[in-house]
């Protein structure tokens, strides 16, 4: 399935795109998606220990399965407040 992944702040600026489309198997988990994202965009590799994945606007666990209509965002370390 093709998943749209929203990007923010420096990650978005780095790819100059506020979202990218990543292809993953239908049975993929959150961890699989992160791996696929980095593989497709190796320049994001340095972010890997630091970003969290949000699925449907909640922080997700790496083992969580994904569904085609899920809303996905990569959340780099936040700095609001």
């Amino acid at each position: 399935m093709k998943i749209e992944v929203k990007l923010f702040a420096a990650m978005r600026e780095q790819l100059d795109a506020d979202h990218v489309i990543v292809a993953i198997p239908d049975t993929a988990t959150v961890a699989d998606l992160s791996a696929a994202l980095i593989q497709q965009y190796p320049s994001l590799a340095a972010w890997q220990p630091y970003f969290r994945t949000a699925v449907n606007q909640q922080f997700a666990h790496p083992d969580d399965p994904l569904r085609p209509k899920d809303e996905i965002a990569m959340i780099p370390p936040v700095s609001g407040g």
Partner: protein, 497 residues
């Protein structure tokens, strides 16, 4: 009251929102932008957020704080967009019967908001630099990212760090972006660019060779140029372009390789361009119908452009964006179909204000009240059709587009309002023409002759000095909106527009 807002926060209004006759205590917290952080002076902050999730998280925090303490009113307002030093970024107000709850709840809220709400700030410093703030990211990684990660690791060529005397003009604009025109030739004749009968193509020996371009880029890369964009004329008509891309990709310090194209030759060439190292594409698409295409470009072939876009998408370039020019009397009826197309395929689309530079078009434009359809007018047209456009933060302060997304969340639109909202103050671009002349502005007639230096045995330092002179000579603004503006002698195809 929970709100994410681009408007100035009024502390009184925040206080009023938690007012109650039952409250014995009201606590107001204001987070303000500090001027000094670790010795650096901040001018402003800019905030962006993942709006839907941020609102959800703030709502959850309110629910949790009310479970922990007995409270009457709770309000959280967070700014988005630019907040100057001394101004309020966040306001939290809490009221309760007794003061202990209000004090503790207020502190708890600001601590939690700082941890888990998807809001980010970018700091703009007095020295002209800016950086996203991502706590816990190693500073080394973040600085490199903000300078865009080089394709060739910095360890390979130590000359890249530190950068000697970067290209800063007297308005503190740092030039990190180079447009390279690889040819003045083109396979179409857009009415806004070139006259139909072009009589003065530059002879081939006057055009820089790939080796000359490469050498020039190596010199400016050591001066801090990091991003390259290939243009023309139409760059894809230059033979063996992938060879040039391959050379440029290897230059230490060059972090981004992009191309602007009319897309007519893209279907055939995209795969090789990507293999050679091209990362990002801007494709010009002003309309979807071949009738209008022919009216604009004096050639047939919109389906070739659409095929090119489709091929490029399948190849997974890092970014594919569409650039459209809207011209009064020609393309108004194309605007909505074009936007629908872009939304359907998730291509970011930018409208560029038509700037009459070409002689023929100049006369025609002057007849039709300048031919300009302003970005604001297009925006109104889109809002009439699609509903309100939601402003988005600018992804890059040097990128001139004003960004919006649609209320339904599908698709994104930018406006490059070169005429009605000039963005000269953040310009970071240098240009080199196909003939090896360096320009600091699309609209200035001043050129610096690098080709002569390259062909007469000059040293790299002499080339660098010439580029520095060019940067030093940059005007405050392009001035096309002023009376007495002298349009450049050259046509757009010769400038790399």
């Amino acid at each position: 009251m929970i709100q994410l807002t681009y408007e100035t926060i009024d502390p009184q209004r925040v206080l009023d929102s938690v007012h109650s006759g039952q409250a014995g205590a009201t606590v107001l917290f204001l987070g303000t932008t500090r001027e000094l952080t670790q010795g650096r002076r901040t001018l402003s902050l800019e905030y962006e957020c993942y709006a839907a999730m941020a609102e959800r998280k703030l709502g959850e925090l309110e629910a949790q704080v009310r479970q922990r303490w007995d409270l009457i009113g709770v309000s959280i307002l967070h700014r988005l967009g630019q907040v100057d030093v001394g101004n309020v970024s966040i306001a939290i107000a809490v009221s309760s019967a007794h003061r202990k709850a209000a004090f503790e709840a207020g502190q708890w809220l600001i601590d939690r908001i700082k941890q888990g709400v998807p809001i980010w700030k970018r700091e703009f410093w007095a020295d002209g630099t800016c950086q996203w703030i991502h706590p816990a990211m190693p500073q080394r990684e973040l600085s490199r990212m903000d300078e865009v990660q080089p394709l060739v690791a910095a360890g390979v060529d130590r000359q890249v760090n530190p950068i000697p005397a970067p290209l800063i003009d007297n308005l503190r604009r740092v030039h990190t972006n180079l447009r390279i025109s690889v040819t003045d030739r083109c396979n179409v004749r857009c009415v806004y660019c070139m006259p139909n009968e072009v009589t003065r193509f530059v002879p081939r020996q006057s055009i820089l060779t790939f080796e000359e371009i490469e050498r020039f880029v190596r010199v400016v890369a050591r001066l801090g140029v990091k991003r390259l964009r290939l243009t023309g004329g139409e760059p894809l008509v230059r033979e063996d372009l992938p060879v040039l891309i391959g050379k440029l990709r290897e230059i230490p310090g060059i972090a981004d390789l992009a191309l602007t194209t009319n897309g007519m030759l893209l279907a055939e060439q995209a795969a090789e361009l990507k293999r050679a190292g091209l990362q990002r594409l801007n494709i010009s698409l002003d309309c979807l119908s071949d009738d209008t295409f022919r009216q604009l470009t004096r050639r047939s072939g919109v389906d070739r452009v659409l095929a090119g876009i489709s091929v490029a998408q399948k190849l997974n370039f890092d970014v594919i964006r569409l650039n459209a020019v809207a011209i009064r009397g020609i393309t108004e009826h194309e605007i909505i179909p074009l936007v629908k197309f872009a939304r359907e395929h998730h291509y970011p689309l930018r409208f560029i204000e038509f700037m009459p530079l070409n002689g023929e078009q100049r006369e025609q434009a002057e007849e039709q009240a300048d031919g300009l359809i302003s970005g604001a007018e297009i925006q109104r047209l889109l809002e009439d059709h699609f509903g309100p456009l939601v402003p988005r933060p600018r992804p890059d302060p040097h990128q001139p587009a004003v960004h919006f997304c649609f209320a339904d969340g599908v698709g994104e639109i930018g406006f490059i309002n070169s005429v009605t909202q000039p963005f000269c103050s953040t310009c970071n671009r240098l240009r080199i023409t196909a003939e090896g002349q360096v320009r600091n502005c699309l609209f200035s007639d001043d050129e610096w002759d690098v080709r002569s230096l390259l062909r007469s045995g000059a040293s790299d330092e002499q080339v660098a000095d010439l580029v520095r002179q060019c940067v030093a000579g940059k005007q405050v603004a392009h001035g096309t909106d002023r009376d007495g503006f002298n349009r450049p002698q050259r046509h757009m195809n010769e400038l790399g527009g």
